[in-house]
Symmetry: C2
Subunit: 198 residues, 2 copies
């Protein structure tokens, strides 16, 4: 029995900040970890945009609550949970992710927390440095072999630390920066790749 | 967001070996971690009994497949997964547990593996020394506070390592050996205790 670590946004569910960007018409919020590799830079950009546009936290939750898992994600996750112990490693925040995690049937999610005051996001707390890589190494310290799939720069540490890591539906810009990491597209290919390890 | 580590047998599902013992009329298999504190001793006793009675692995799986989660366990787990990230830490084996884990909605399960040949259990592989305590410490290394509940001697390491550990429906023999560990009975009390940490 191996552990499977999966990124959340772009893999199982839509990009939540982009959904908020589209709903509120805030162009800066379209950027993701694919565009801004340093996560703290990305979050500072997001918080400035939210403050400038005076976006209530509750309005963001309403947008996120209307999202659904990506097509095929629920079936894929069911397949995966029959064959692996699955952990979602994400740089999102529990306060955002819970409605979607509920729709996915409560897989274990390791991510970060927001600081919310008076219906405004005033800050955030990252759980630790290199959180995805640290989580992979923690599972390895428990005697597990780890498989992993993600789509962006913030997944590199996880993909490299895992015994078997691959990009899933990653943009060409990301995959061409890391040509040594296997890149698969679509749940059919991902399932075929993972089948080698279960 | 805290992690909640739960024992499996006696907490969420019935004792699987006892179900097999009853089904096959094999008295030695009634013993659990509550009776034999050293897990390896217990497993050697079980394997000898299985060999002596020539019990096929498939017959054991049939008994396990007929088991259901304990009354209230599914509702409790749903309550817990809304409020914690839940990990099941068990000294059972994946080959045994999967039918029950499926009925519980696939919570993350960290346990051991069996060696099966020609429909007979010929051995087992424990994942590591002190596996429950190591798992709690791994989650703590990722920046989490850990709550834990279990019912037996093999849970002591987990309950002591966790920031908030308690016995759940443990026999008096166990709780009186560890009077410093909080002991709760029934899911109502467990929920009340855990509510302090979520």
């Amino acid at each position: 029995m191996n552990i499977l670590c999966l990124d959340l946004e772009g893999v199982l569910v839509p990009e939540m900040w982009q959904a908020i960007a589209t709903d509120r018409g805030i162009e800066e919020l379209q950027k993701t970890t694919r565009d801004v590799p340093v996560y703290d830079d990305l979050m500072q950009l997001r918080l400035r945009a939210l403050a400038r546009h005076n976006v209530p936290f509750s309005a963001m939750l309403e947008v996120i609550g209307s999202l659904e898992p990506l097509p095929g994600a629920t079936d894929f996750l069911h397949w995966a949970r029959e064959r692996f112990q699955v952990a979602i490693l994400s740089d999102t925040f529990y306060e955002f992710a819970i409605p979607l995690v509920r729709k996915l049937g409560y897989p274990l999610l390791l991510c970060h927390t927001l600081q919310v005051e008076d219906d405004r996001i005033v800050g955030y707390r990252l759980r630790q440095e290199n959180p995805k890589q640290a989580a992979v190494e923690a599972f390895q310290s428990l005697g597990y072999t780890v498989c992993a799939a993600g789509d962006s720069y913030n997944d590199i540490g996880m993909l490299r630390a895992a015994e078997h890591g691959c990009f899933f539906n990653a943009p060409t810009q990301v995959t061409s920066d890391y040509p040594d990491i296997e890149a698969v597209r679509g749940f059919g290919e991902l399932t075929a790749t993972l089948s080698r390890y279960c």
